[in-house]
Structures are given as C-alpha cells and as structure tokens.
Amino acid sequence: MIKITLLSLSLLLTSCILKDESPLESTSDEVNLIQSGDIVVTNSANDTIILLDSDGNYKDVLVDSQTDATLLFNGLAFDSVNEQVLYTHDSTTGALDAVKSISLYDGSVSTVISNSNLNGTLPGVARLTGGDLVVLEGTNAAEKFLANGTRSGAPFLTGLTTNLADITKLSTGGFVTCSSGTTNTVRTYNAAGAVQATATSASPLPSLGALAATSCTTDSTGRIIVAYSGATDAVRVYNSSMSSIEWTFTDTNVLTTPGKLAVRPNGNILVLDTAFNHIVEISSSGALVRVIGGAVLATPSNMVVIP
C-alpha cells in the first residue's frame, strides 16, 4: 500500500512538472511605447516629434528641440528592417546633421548615421528593403549608406529633380522620390538608383496643372500615392508603374495645403494639411473618412504610421 502510494505520488508530481505546453505568441506591441497603428508627426513650428494614437489623440513627445531652434526634423520614415522610427536631425548650422532613430520600446533616441557628407538640408530618409539607407541631401542629391553604416557612392545620386521633398521605399527594393519642381516631379527608382518610371501632376492625364509634389509614398498593393499642392490641392493615386491614374482626391473644406502622406495598415491614406494643422484620412478607394489630430499639430512637416 505504501509503495503504491509512493509510486502514484511520484508519477503525479513528475507529470505535473514535465507537462508540456505550446507557447502562445506574444508581441512587443503589448509593451512598446510606440505601437502598431500609432502616428508619429514632426511639428516644425515647435521643433518636436510627437506620438499620436491611431485616432490622432496625443500620446507623448518623442523628441523636443525647442532649446535649439536651428534644428529641423524634415525626414521621417519607418525602418522595418530594424523596427524603429528614423528621422533626419538637420541643423541649419550644418554641424549636427545626422540620421537618428527612435526606439519603439521606450522612445529613446540613438544616432544611426553621422557623416560629414550630410551637411545640406535633409528632406527625406528611407531604409530600403535590402537594408541600405538612402538620405535626400541638399536640393537634388541622395546619399546612400550600407546596412553597416558605410557610405556608398560619392554621393549615391546627383541631378535628381530639384527641390526634393520626399522619399519612400518600395516593396520592389527601390524607392520613389518627388520634388516641388514642376517637371518630372515623381520618379520611381530601383535599388541601384536607375529611374524606372516618371509622372507629374500633368502627366498622365487628366492634368491637375503644374503643381508641386509635396509627398510620395506607396501602399501594400504597390500603388504610388502623391500629394500635390498649388492651384489644385490633391492626393492622387497611380498604378505601380505610374502609367495610369486610379483616383484623385480633392476637398478644399479639409485639404488646402497638402503635406506629407502615410498609409495605415488597413490601406487608408493619411495626409497632413500644414495650414489647417490636421490629418485627413482617405479610404483606399479615395473617399473622405475623417479628420483627426487637429488639437496638437503645429505646422506639421512629416508623418509616419507604425505598420
């Protein structure tokens, strides 16, 4: 009897301790300060980078340079290779130019690239799918840095369309750029920097007239999305080769000064209005959804949605 009791107890305890379970999946998003769907916006009026939730409500200040008015944060992008937010730390004195990162976990800032060749204005930054970092530099050039931080090219590209405004990585490995120049304003490139396609506000038809492209991005289907500002203020969506237009959104009640674009995980498109100081949300088919973020934006200059 004693032996049976001992054996039973031993088997019971051993089976409890050795019981195997399949682990359930956890995500960093559960504890990260910056979570999927959140919106990161740079405010040029008060030199801050702020964090909004997916409904445009204020969450936190990520970067605040009010003590140094010479700083600009024009370039902003999500680095899906290293899961962080990238921004250009652009000093008008030229001494502190760098690309920095913001940790999704706690919002801490680190320097990604600090290079003497980054000494002009830095209007855009993108981490390509292959890991290379492309930084728009000056009015018509781009620098490239390999994943290990080494500069590639001298510089990577020159003679881009003047008055560069934005750059976004493409899922094909390349990138799209746009500029406020009135010709060849939107171009797609492969990873090596060769032009793949070109569009302007006037071509392909129907023409919007000669407008400055203030932002260009892409969505999960590969469509190219461009914000135009000028006589007509619009968001226009092209097919992936920019050979045809899918739709154009205009609504002067909510969008009179289109700024930067971002795409939500559900495909909806967000566009900043730098005069109204709010964010206009447009469905993936071009219908107005809502206006958000109006309470805390101060001349917003860039925006990214955390995928």
Binding site: S10, C16, I17, E25, S26
Partner: protein, 191 residues
C-alpha cells in the same frame, strides 16, 4: 536575524543534540503570471543540500538549492529561448514523522533570468512581457516528502515549492539522501 541566531545557539546546546545533513537532485519547473499568460513553462533540473540541527521531530536547517530551467517563447513571430535560473538560500523548520516530513522556511533568491534575443529593442520588450528579472529577491519555501530509514541514513523523495515574492514559483520534485551526525536525530522520538 537575532531570532535565528538565538535558535541556532540553542540548537548547539544540549537541548538539540543531533545534527543532520543531506542533498537531493531532481526536476524543476518555473511558473509566473507573466509566463502562464503565454503557456510558457520553463523546465529543468534542481539540486541542493541542507544542514540542520534537531531534536525529537523538529529540526532547524539551512539550505541551498540551485534551480535551473529553460523554455521556448514565441515573440513577434519568432521562437526564442528563455532561461530562468535561481539560487535559493535560506532557513527552514523541518517536522519529521514516521513516514513523511514537512518543511517551511524563508529564502533569499538570486535570480538569473534572460531571453536570448539579439535585437536590443525586441529583447527589452520581451523582458517586460515575460517579467524577466535578475538580482536578489526574498521569498519563502515549503515542501513535503516521504522518507525511509536506510541503515544510518534516510532516503527521501521531496516536493518543494520555492516561492519568490510578487514574482513566480519554482516547483521541484527530487530524490535524495540524508545522514544524521551522530545517528541520533533519526532515532529519537518519532524519527
């Protein structure tokens, strides 16, 4: 601490005339609310020893127990290794009867927990999700076992729970052997 010193002093007098020493080896698992949420149960082994002084059926002992467990987690779509090790040191009361014994005590735990993730941001997030900690913590231990006299020694199987305050619990199931010095502790009273 003063109480412990007084008790130990008393036990070294004639009031408590027998000492005993032993060791064990067995299986261990670790559980906590954070790990339970994701069905993560690190498992491994445990070994340790104890030295005590006692009379009749009551003993006071110091113990050391090494608790080494590991398991898999699935985080951000990838599988990683989670290690949860601890060393427990403390003092316990032992109540010995003919066939079984009970132990109850206080312990100081030195924790060495980690997740094997290279990316710092992901690792820090996972550490928070799974409440990964290092450093020292207080807690208690309690256990029960069945023992049988074998010559001048006792063989035993033991189930013990090492409970770390506001954190988690190690469960151990082990087997071991204990000796009395001299061979009186096992022969007095119901021992």
């Amino acid at each position: 601490m003063k109480t412990l010193i007084i008790l130990l002093t008393l036990m070294t007098t004639q009031v408590f005339a027998a000492a005993y020493i032993g060791g064990s080896y067995g299986l261990a698992s670790y559980s906590s609310d954070a790990l339970d949420k994701y069905n993560v149960v690190p498992k491994g082994n445990s070994f340790g020893g104890f030295f005590g002084i006692g009379r009749d059926f009551v003993g006071l002992e110091g113990f050391y127990q090494s608790l080494n467990t590991s398991g898999k987690i699935k985080h951000d779509g990838e599988k990683y290794d989670l290690t949860s090790n601890a060393a427990a040191m403390g003092a316990a009361l032992r109540f010995s009867f003919e066939m079984f014994y009970l132990r109850l005590g206080l312990a100081r735990y030195k924790l060495d927990q980690s997740v094997d993730i290279d990316d710092e941001t992901t690792r820090r997030a996972a550490e928070q999700v799974y409440d990964i900690q290092t450093g020292s913590k207080n807690g208690m231990m309690y256990g029960l076992g069945l023992h049988k006299k074998w010559g001048s020694s006792r063989l035993f199987i033991d189930y013990s729970r090492y409970q770390i305050t506001s954190m988690g619990t190690y469960d151990t199931f082990s087997a071991g052997i204990a000796f009395a010095i001299p061979d009186r502790f096992f022969n007095v009273g119901r021992n």
